[in-house]
Symmetry: C2
Subunit: 183 residues, 2 copies
């Protein structure tokens, strides 16, 4: 056969291709329109193919969420442990949520009623990694910063809050105000 580029029967790296497609579709069309079939279409395979790599749709989403947590951890990994680290931590959440709101929403709304699911583990791992990376801060302080970052980012992603021009300054102001009010 001289046919130039008939796609081979076996894809070669379908699992990652599906994750990439899903991630792109998530940002482009939103979670509601993210069907397994559309992911398969985007990756150029049949609608049954994904089941060779993920038990069900949920498992694909879980892998995507876990991927997000790992990248969030990396982002924090390159953070200096200075005095403003907690502000940087919160600000990092906002930057992440702004860059990929779809993935952010998926990560933090994934229903993990059973604690053994992958995203829950990945989330805990991210929190624990943070404790290693910033040993100067107490566990409570880091948990608080994590929660504050998540909460602020969620408010912004959901259009209930819009920080001004300087996001970092805004975050610092909120932390300072809350700290003063609760002292």
């Amino acid at each position: 056969m001289l046919s130039v580029s008939t796609s081979p029967y076996h894809h070669g790296d379908l699992r990652n291709a599906l994750l990439r497609s899903a991630r792109a579709l998530l940002e482009r069309s939103g979670e509601a329109d993210l069907s397994l079939r559309s992911v398969a279409r985007d990756a150029g395979v049949s609608s049954a193919a994904p089941y060779r790599h993920f038990a069900d749709k949920d498992e694909l989403l879980a892998a995507l969420a876990a991927m997000g947590y790992r990248e969030l951890t990396e982002r924090f990994g390159s953070m200096p442990a200075t005095d403003g680290a907690l502000t940087d931590l919160v600000e990092g959440f906002l930057a992440f949520a702004e860059a990929e709101p779809g993935l952010f929403r998926l990560m933090f709304s994934y229903p993990c009623t059973r604690g053994d699911k992958e995203p829950a583990r990945a989330g805990r791992a991210a929190l624990e990694a943070l404790q290693h990376q910033l040993p100067g801060f107490s566990e409570e302080a880091l948990t608080g910063a994590w929660a504050l970052g998540h909460g602020l980012a969620a408010l912004i992603v959901h259009n209930q809050l819009s920080p001004g021009d300087d996001r970092r300054e805004y975050v610092a102001a909120i932390i300072k105000a809350a700290a003063k009010a609760s002292s």
Copy 2:
């Protein structure tokens, strides 16, 4: 006719009945299994009936989320404006999320890309109501407490954190630690 209790053709209060059914199913089976058809079944009507009261499924969920925000506001409405108000505020989130995790998740994961949707408005309204109820605190402090409450509750709902026996003390410790670390 002597038939004792044939349900009448017209329900009478179907809209609220649907909301009640949806809310119950949300807690019992989770959001993934919450179909408009199952809500209709639970309310004892045909699967097309809900469309006389909600434009689509999304609108029902939006109404449910808005309802949640109103109840959250009420909860905070009866809060004394003492020194520990911010801790109470955060703790209120945790209590709400614990009581109805399904509704909590729906409220805070509802995709409001367009800012004019009802839940986004209800969320903003709740935040603004808080500023009226606790005039002694700055807007930044209240926003921070709101975000921290949301974030901590999400961590707990998603099984990534389990506070000890005394939740309020735990919250206070986190606020104090974060405040100290960022001072």
